[in-house]
Structures are given as C-alpha cells and as structure tokens.
C-alpha cells in the first residue's frame, strides 16, 4: 500500500503542513526521528511571532511572514495555545542609524505590516522604562507577538492527528528512492514506506533529505544560538520584544517576555557543520549577557533558571526553499527554514499543502475538525471552577510541580491526549511540569511515577527525551 503524502519531520513546519493536508481526502503520514514532535529547532527558539518588517519585500518569505503571523493569532483561538500580541521594538544605539530604522519601517509598509511607529530614545524609554540610556531611537511594531512554540506545534500535530494523519516516531529516514512513480522511503526501523508525494520538512537535516533525491544539492549550515531564561518572578521586566537593529549576522540578541511570563534573552549565532551540537558555551553565554545588557539595564541575573541552545536550519542560499524540487517530481521541499520560520509556519503549511492538493486533485473533507482544546490549566482557576473540576477528576487536586503549579491531572492529560508525551521533556513542554525555578528538582520523582503508571513503562525505561537518555540506571547487567 502507498500513502498519498509522507512528511519527513515533525517540527512546527512539518506539523503545520500535516494539519493543512488533513483538511483533504489524502492519506498522510508524518515520520519523525525523535520520540516526540517539537524536539529540535521548534523547541529551542525565541518564540516570537515577527510582524514582518524584516524580509525583503516581494519575497515569498515576506508574504508568508505577514500572513503566518496573522494566522497564528487566529489559530491560537481555534487550537487553544498561548499567544500574546505584545508588540516589538527595534532599537538603535546611534543617532546615525535613523535611516536604517526608516528603511525597516518602509520595508514593513511594503510587506503590508500595519501599526508601526518610529520613536525617539526617550519615547521608547517611556514605554519600556528598562531600556538603557544608550538607546537613541526605536521602531515600534504593535503587531509583533509571542507564542508558546511547543504548544503551537503540539496543537497543529494533535489536530492533524485527529483528522487522520498518522505519526510514526523514532523513525529517522535513511534513504529515498523512486520506483514506478512512487517514492520508497526507508527508515532505520527497517520498514519501507511508499508514497506518491514527499514533503521534506526535516529542519537541519532538510539538505540531507533533499540531496537523497535531487542533483541540485542544498547545503545547510546550522546556526547555533544560546539563550538564557529567567524566572517568571521577573515578569514585566520588559513587555515588548526588544530587538537590536539587525546586522548581516541576523536579528541579534533580543530581550523578550515569553508567552508564560518568563524573561528570555538571546540568541547568539554560531555557524557550525554539526547538526546535533546543541551545547551552550561560556563565551556565547557571555555574549548574550553583554549584548542584552546593552539593550536593557538592571537585568536580574540572580533570577536565571536555565540556559539552552537551539540550532536554526540556514541554507547557504539565504532563503527558504519552498516547493517542488525541479529535478524530482512530487518531492516538495520546506527546507532551510530559519527565522522567521515559526511565524511563517501556518502559512508555509498552507502554501505547501496547496501545491500538493492541486497536483493530486484532492477534495476537501466534509468532516474536518477545525478546533482543538488544550490541556486544562489549574493555575489561575478560581475556587468554584477548581472545586467543580476536582469533583469530576480528583487527580487535579494533587499539585505535582510547585513552581508552575501543575497538577497530577494535567500531567495525566499530557500523557494520554492524542500524540501524548512519552518522556519527561514531552510532559514539560506540554504542561510545564519542571519548567520553573527549580527545574524539575522537586517534581521529577513524582512525574516519573505518573508516567510509568499511565504508560506501563518500567521506571528504568523512562527517558528525558530519546532512547539513551534514561533518567535512572537499571539494575546491573
């Protein structure tokens, strides 16, 4: 049997494509090399919905950015994930940079970005009192936003799943061959998957996947960025996302609130060949610290709770590679997705799905389910709501994660919902148990227990994420 479409990669782009395709009468499977979706670039980024002033006007990237940003706002209601239109600010440190701010403004106008304003340093400080005195001017973009990147991805994936898309995990693709108009995809699970259409959404590996079928080679230079995350006690340290004027190296170090009320600073941008190196290093963390301190003052460094790094899939040509490969019919790339890939994702999903739907002549389903409900959040519930909930399901009455106030019921939901969590990281990203100031010191033991009880796993089998990351040691061999 052959599928209509196989999507390689369960990041935010792959999941958005899956969801867009799930509106049609097509058999679709998504192959993911990790144990969960949202495991690589999509899990470690700034979580910003860019307003769209940055991409070159007229490019597909510019179009998808502005459209995708608007779609994320709409989807946050339909698919129930955290999104805040907090607005962004691009600051300059030099009076002579005024023309560059104006250029960004003009680019924004050309890209169709609304609600922009150029501010003086003092006007900017009036809105964001923690900006340094060095700030000479700013471009304010009120349409910029922040999103929970994990639950954006999970929402898209879960919704695709209940609309019929199949997800296969722990399944890295090892080869792709074409035979009798069908692609044969081999994975290291020793199985062969046959399909009419292939979508390459393999992130930092999208060059490898593309090069399996095309002579027109791609090359991705992964760009690693270090971030530092602060306790949500420092909520409202800044309310806007603060960018520095972009340079050739990228958008620079930003300072932003997250959708969960933490403060986030970063990322650096280091080019590397290694697609797996997500380590942080001292120099990078120092760069983040020093650069961020240029934008805002009195950063509460005593309130740091973690640092991490993510890698972006930057193709050497500098642009997204979107569409059918010119020398491989029915093979569609969504490759080289770097920033603003998260902002673009729903629009990218629609764009790629449209290309395939047109070629396949597929029809829309009558029974597409357009909405999805998030896990119940007990934090912030009032007494009446809470008490009603606990009458229905007492597990919501046991708080497991003290820092983020996450109950047993929420963790059980994270595990048992469609495409549920299978690892500690999967639970953490879905419902935030272990995401707070003690970084899972308090809840690990309890979370392990719940995961075992719900899945039937042995304690020694439970992983932080992929196989090999077992949390406990089994008995001696």
């Amino acid at each position: 049997m052959a599928y209509d479409v196989i999507i390689i990669g369960g990041g935010v782009t792959g999941c958005a494509i899956a969801r867009s395709l799930s509106k049609y009468n097509l058999s679709v499977v998504l192959l993911e090399k990790n144990e969960d979706v949202c495991s690589e670039t999509s899990k470690a980024n700034s979580g910003i919905v860019h307003s769209g002033y940055d991409p070159e006007p007229g490019t597909l990237m510019a179009k998808l950015n502005v459209k995708g940003g608007a779609m994320i706002e709409q989807l946050s209601k339909e698919l129930d994930f955290d999104y805040i239109k907090n607005g962004s600010m691009i600051i300059s440190f030099d009076k002579n940079d005024a023309p560059q701010l104006k250029e960004l403004y003009d680019r924004g106008v050309a890209n169709g970005v609304e609600q922009m304003e150029i501010l003086s340093g003092d006007e900017a400080r009036a809105i964001e009192p923690n900006l340094t005195d060095e700030v000479q001017g700013a471009l304010l973009c009120k349409t910029g936003g922040i999103v929970d990147p994990f639950n954006l991805t999970y929402a898209l994936a879960e919704n695709a799943y209940i609309n019929g898309v199949e997800f296969i995990f722990n399944c890295p693709v090892t080869s792709i061959n074409k035979r009798n108009n069908l692609y044969e995809i081999k994975c290291n699970d020793k199985k062969t998957y046959r399909t009419k259409y292939v979508v390459n959404a393999a992130g930092v590996y999208s060059d490898v996947i593309h090069n399996m079928v095309s002579k027109k080679k791609l090359h991705i230079t992964p760009k690693r960025g270090n971030y530092i995350l602060f306790d949500n006690e420092v909520e409202n340290f800044v309310t806007h996302t603060i960018f520095q004027l972009p340079t050739k190296l990228g958008k620079g170090i930003l300072v932003t609130p997250t959708a969960h009320g933490n403060l986030l600073i970063g990322p650096t941008s280091i080019s590397q060949e290694d697609k797996e190196d997500t380590s942080t290093n001292l120099n990078d963390l120092d760069t983040v610290t020093n650069q961020a301190a240029r934008s805002v003052k009195n950063i509460p460094f005593r309130k740091v709770i973690t640092s991490f790094s993510g890698i972006r899939a930057a193709e050497d040509g500098g642009d997204f590679i979107l569409g059918e490969a010119s020398d491989a019919e029915n093979f569609f790339d969504a490759a080289g997705i770097k920033s603003p890939g998260l902002s673009c994702s729903p629009a990218t999903g629609e764009y790629i799905a449209d290309l395939i739907v047109k070629k396949a002549g597929a029809n829309k389903k009558d029974d597409f389910i357009a909405t999805r409900k998030a896990t119940i959040r007990t934090k912030g519930m009032n007494q009446a709501e809470y008490t009603t909930l606990i009458k229905k399901d007492p597990t919501y009455g046991t708080i497991v994660c003290r820092c983020e106030q996450v109950s047993e019921g929420e963790i059980i939901d994270a595990i048992n919902r469609p495409l549920g969590a299978k690892s500690l990281d999967g639970i953490k990203r879905r419902v935030r148990a272990g995401m707070g100031r003690c970084q899972a010191g308090f809840c690990t033991a309890r979370t392990l227990e719940i995961l075992c009880k719900q899945t039937g796993m042995e304690m020694s089998e439970v992983c932080k994420n992929n196989k090999g990351s077992e949390v406990l040691m089994g008995d001696d061999e």
Partner: protein, 417 residues
C-alpha cells in the same frame, strides 16, 4: 473554617512549631503538608547525626522526625496531607487537595514552615549539553532513599554543601564511584564533620576553587570538564581536567521556598532569601511568622526545631494578646557577618534571652565576634575558626539592653586582633 494557628509545612519546622503552639495553650491548630506523610525532607535523610543537641543522642532523619510526629499525634494536633497551599494573605490561607478542592480558611496566626528547594544547574549557567543524569543532590537522595532507584554509577559532584557531601558517601556505599567533589568557593559550604566522615573516610577528593565548565553527552551525561577558578570565580584557561562520568550531582545551594511569603507581601531579605523577622519571628506582615529553612538555610535540624518552637510560642502569644505596637530596632550584620536572624528586635517586649543566629562570609581564623549596642562594644568572643558552613549565634539579654534605653541599633560583626 477558622483556626487560631495554621502551620504551612509538616517538616521539622512545622512539626516543632505545632507542638510548641499546643504546649503554649493554643488548641485550634492545623498543619498543612503537601506530601503524603509528615516529616518533610528528614524522611529521605536516612543517615545519622540528627538530634545530638535536642535529644542528646544520634538519630537518623526519619527517627528524628518520628519523635515530633509522635508528639503531634499524642497532642492530637490535626493535619492535612497531600494538600498544597497556593495562597496566603493576612489571616487567610487557600489550599488545594483531592477531596475538598480549593478551600480558603481563616487563621489568627500563620506560621510559614515551607522549607527550601535546591538551586538548579541553570541558576549557575553551567555550559554544555542538557542530557539526563544531572540531578540536584536532594532529588538524587529522594530517588535513592525513598524510591529505591539507582541514579548513577560514575559520579561527579559539584558543590560541597551538606547534601552533596552526604550523597558522596551514600552513592559510594551503594556501589557507585564518586570521582571528585568540586567546590567553586575556596572553602566548603558544608559542615566540617561531613567533610571528614563523607569524603576523607572514603578517599573522595575535594577540589576547592573548581567548577564544571562543560557537560558532555547529548542523551546521558558521558563526562564533564572541571577547571580551576580565580579569585573572580571565573575559570582559568589551561587548568581544565576531563572526567568520564554518567552522572553529575549538584549541591550548589538551597533557596528558601518563599512563593507564598511573597504572595502575603512579606518582606524578603536579599541575603537569606527568606522573610525579614523580628525577635518574635514575626514577618513584616502582621500575624505571619516564619521558621526553619524557609527563613534561612540551617546547618543542623536541631536549630530548626529550636527556632520553630520559638515561632510556635510567639504565635500563641500573638493569638492570645492580639496585635500590639512593637518598637523594633535593627540588628546590623557587618564585616564578615553576612546576615542575622532575626533582623530586628524590640528591646522592651523581647524575651529575657534572644538567640541571634548568623553565618559568616568566609573562613576566618582567630577572629572575634563582636556585639555593639550603637557604638558601644558589649561583647567580644574569640573564635578559633569561623566558616560559612556553620551557623553561629550570639545571645542578647533583655536586662543588658535595658541599660541602653536610647539604643537605635545593634551591630554584630567580626573583628581581627
């Protein structure tokens, strides 16, 4: 529901505070504990050495806790288990549990006894990968001693706080190899007796002025890199040493757990990270008292019990008398004294004797601990050795303070010869 005293936390501080409240003739008491048993962190501290001061014998953690749990039961003090307090306000507490849902109760006095949590890796910004196999020492202790799991075979420990030292011994006894204990500071933050009994006796090296500068392994820890640090606590290039290991334990400090204190608008000391209290252990919010590790991190549980007993007694007094205007003066910590608890005292209404506890900022030999009433030196005690790992104390006498009716502040500091 209305209570006279509600105690948040059923660990050593909460238990001792409850017993003392009851002994001081307050009957309508409730202890709220989030875990499924009383005793708190003592339940996982299966080593001995507890109770030398309180019971004049050496007990294990669970045995020490059991003595207090027994008193709580004999005194018929009610307690809730599996119940998490999520909000504290002036005279009111909101909690959540499985059977009642979300409930708000009233209390004339509240005793904060929530204890503390461990500082995570992230707070130190240790670079490297984020694999499994990195545990706060106390989490590893719980996984081993309560749940019966094995956390690692080849272990490096960063931080020489007491839990780290205890775990070095515990892991060794369980068959793991502890390669090294590294400490960022030029001195250990743990008790001398623990360094001797947990490291020296097992030939585990302690490297002072060292820190972890890289964590290797994408899935599970495969190794770490240690480097010497300079006086600025930054790593010195060329001093890197690689250790192969599957586990990194962190014992890099404890943080008093003050989410609830902040909700109650209690003033928090930036030094102790716990509430600022007066000689009654009353916080800046009337009717809210604090004791134990939520107030400041203690070295010995015996001192927690002693402090908690005072909080229980004073909360009882408060319930009986209601609020009175107190005129407190500040107790300053200077020159090597990092902080004091309490930070304020009312010379007129204080008890006859007041124990002021503190920690020093560095290891000092042959210094004096000096107490000044304003600028007058009152007491000068020579100490052979002072170390940050050991809590120190001075006793203030009411009768002595009474001789200085115009006093505006007390200062405790160290002085050299």
């Amino acid at each position: 529901m209305k209570y006279d005293i509600v105690i948040i936390g059923g660990g050593p501080a909460g238990l001792a505070a409850a017993v003392s409240s009851k002994e001081n003739k307050t009957d309508n008491i409730l202890i709220i504990e989030r875990s499924d048993s009383l005793g708190g962190i003592l339940n996982q501290c299966i080593h001995n050495g507890f109770g030398l001061h309180t019971f004049k014998e050496e007990l294990t953690g669970p045995e020490y806790a059991a003595r207090y749990i027994q008193q709580v039961q004999e005194l018929k003090i009610p307690y809730l288990l599996n119940t998490m307090v999520i909000d504290v306000k002036f005279h009111s507490i909101t909690y959540i549990n499985k059977t009642e849902g979300m409930v708000t109760i009233e209390a004339k006095a509240i005793i904060l006894a929530m204890g503390c949590r461990e500082r995570p890796r992230g707070a130190l910004n240790i670079p490297g990968y984020r694999p499994s196999g990195i545990f706060p020492a106390g989490t590893a202790q719980r996984l081993m001693n309560i749940e019966g799991h094995k956390v690692g075979k080849k272990v490096v420990i960063l931080g020489s706080g007491d839990i780290g030292l205890i775990m070095a011994r515990r892991l060794t006894l369980e068959g793991a190899k502890v390669e090294v204990v590294a400490e960022l500071m030029p001195f250990s933050g743990g008790l001398k007796r623990n360094i001797v009994q947990c490291l020296d006796d097992f030939n585990i090296p302690l490297k002072l002025s060292h820190t972890v500068i890289d964590i290797e392994g994408k899935d599970r820890v495969t190794g770490i890199v240690l480097a010497k640090v300079g006086p600025d606590r930054r790593p010195i290039a060329g001093t890197e040493v690689h250790y192969e290991c599957d586990t990194l334990l962190l014992s890099v400090g404890l943080l008093p757990e003050n989410e609830l204190s902040r909700k109650a608008d209690v003033e928090i000391s930036p030094i102790t990270n716990g509430p600022v209290v007066d000689d009654e252990l009353q916080t800046s919010t009337e009717g809210i008292f604090a004791c134990g590790n939520v107030l400041h991190v203690h070295d010995l549980v015996d001192y927690v019990s002693e402090e908690a007993a005072l909080a229980g007694k004073e909360a009882s007094e408060y319930v009986k008398r209601g609020e009175i205007k107190r005129n407190t003066i500040k107790i300053n910590a200077e020159n090597g004294v990092r902080y004091t608890v309490p930070q304020r005292v009312d010379p007129k209404s204080m008890s006859d004797l007041l124990t002021v506890r503190f920690r020093v900022a560095n290891v000092y030999t042959g210094r004096y601990i000096c107490v000044y009433f304003d600028n007058t030196l009152i007491k000068k005690t020579k100490k052979k050795v002072l170390a940050p790992g050991e809590m120190e104390k001075v006793i203030l006498k009411k009768e002595e303070l009474a001789k200085y009716p115009t006093i505006t502040s007390i200062t405790i500091k160290t002085e050299e010869e």
